[in-house]
Symmetry: C2
Subunit: 257 residues, 2 copies
């Protein structure tokens, strides 16, 4: 009958109770010692079971406090609207979206000249290790880390648009700035994948165990070649990316709210 190992039974029982509302999001689970008594198992076995739930992102633990059922509030990102001249990118769409949602945006910004990593060089069609401008952005919503965004521009582009290396923000947006120089972004290629965060990503995004990152790579093209490559990392549990394709007039009709 009871072929499942005990720590798995513990995890399954707790998961059911989380699902059926016995422990709603934000509430605390019983302590390890209480669970130990309830399931007649050692503390180690209980910890094994709880650890399963943690790595699945259902609960989080903190020393001294206990285990808490996680609650997410998903943030919507409209990826197909981001980039055109009406709505230039580079923080504008982000700040607007966040403010409209009644949240407070905040970002730190950094510019450097670095060798292009292989992944980026491939997409920009330049030599691996050749120089590129990196504009790096670390974004927060209500002071919670939200995403990191690293945009690389190939070196040949800098000769035409020297302001790309300026340390500050480009007020009108980089897309619009480049367009004013006759370099227009006429299309882009998006790649989306998911994986567990590297320690570096976990640090920047303050991600605990059991939360994957969404990786979004956007390569922008002018008429004749790639002009930038943006790699954005999001907390997977707090973000959802949206694409609108074709005629969606039926979607907004009678939309509640």
């Amino acid at each position: 009958m009871n072929k499942q190992p005990k720590y798995r039974q513990v995890a399954d029982a707790l998961r059911r109770e989380i699902d059926n509302g016995t422990y709603p999001p934000g509430s605390r689970l019983p302590s390890e010692s209480e669970l130990s008594a309830r399931f007649d198992a050692s503390r180690n076995t209980i910890r094994n079971g709880l650890n399963l739930l943690v790595t699945q992102g259902l609960v989080s633990s903190s020393q001294g406090l206990g285990y808490e059922v996680t609650k997410h509030e998903v943030f919507e990102l409209n990826a197909s609207r981001f980039e055109n001249l009406e709505f230039p990118q580079n923080g504008d769409a982000y700040s607007t979206d966040v403010t409209n949602a009644g949240r407070r945006p905040h970002q730190t910004f950094r510019v450097e000249l670095t060798p292009a990593p292989a992944y980026v060089a491939e997409r920009l069609k330049v030599e691996e290790g050749s120089r590129a401008v990196l504009r790096f952005c670390h974004r927060f919503v209500d002071d919670v880390p939200w995403s990191t965004q690293a945009t690389h521009y190939p070196e040949w582009l800098v000769e035409q648009g020297p302001r790309l290396t300026e340390p500050g923000d480009i007020a009108e947006g980089t897309t619009r700035y480049l367009a004013s120089l006759g370099i227009e972004q006429v299309g882009y290629f998006d790649e989306i994948s998911a994986r567990m965060p590297t320690p570096e990503e976990a640090r920047l995004l303050e991600i605990g165990a059991g939360v994957p990152v969404l990786l979004w790579t956007r390569t922008g093209f002018s008429n004749d070649r790639p002009i930038r490559c943006t790699v954005t990392t999001f907390r997977g549990d707090l973000n959802r990316m949206n694409y609108e394709i074709g005629d969606l007039s039926a979607r907004s009709e009678n939309e509640p709210q």
Copy 2:
């Protein structure tokens, strides 16, 4: 100096050695007892460290065999090309893509009439729990589970397209079938998110610890209302979704291969 707990030092050291090629993808790590000797730590501590790497998706373990460095082979999905009348969906694009990649596609298929889940009902603009046709697809590549796809059609649509409830495949594709009835899909709305798999998903996709799922929801619209909602789950480590937006003629120029 050495503030990091020992099990973390073990994980970090092994991660570095994986990154720098000491243990390339597919190779085996030393056994727990060997590592125990090397790091002068108990087996429990070593297991704690290894468990970190497992939940981060860097290595996988199996009883009797040991720990193996994972290797992924990413599969590209062109999401913006999937759905139009030239390339109808429902397995066609999947089979074509997989065959073109020199792999062997295989899928199981199921049709049922069920109450629409809340998530789907919201998108189809029907009452939660009202009946809907579910066409469910479990897809494999070279006999490895690849994705599950659940498409819901609202009940009112079935009255116009009764073949939707047929248990078998619809040869010409559902999109084309519906178009032949005058119900044309003129646009769609995509939502993409990532999270850790539920036990059910882990079972269907044979996902081990440390691998997230990519969730792809596509809602298709006719001129006046939503006509279907497709939820696809992928192994996050084996798939990458692509979107092409705008003019990308520059992308394919001089493309190798």
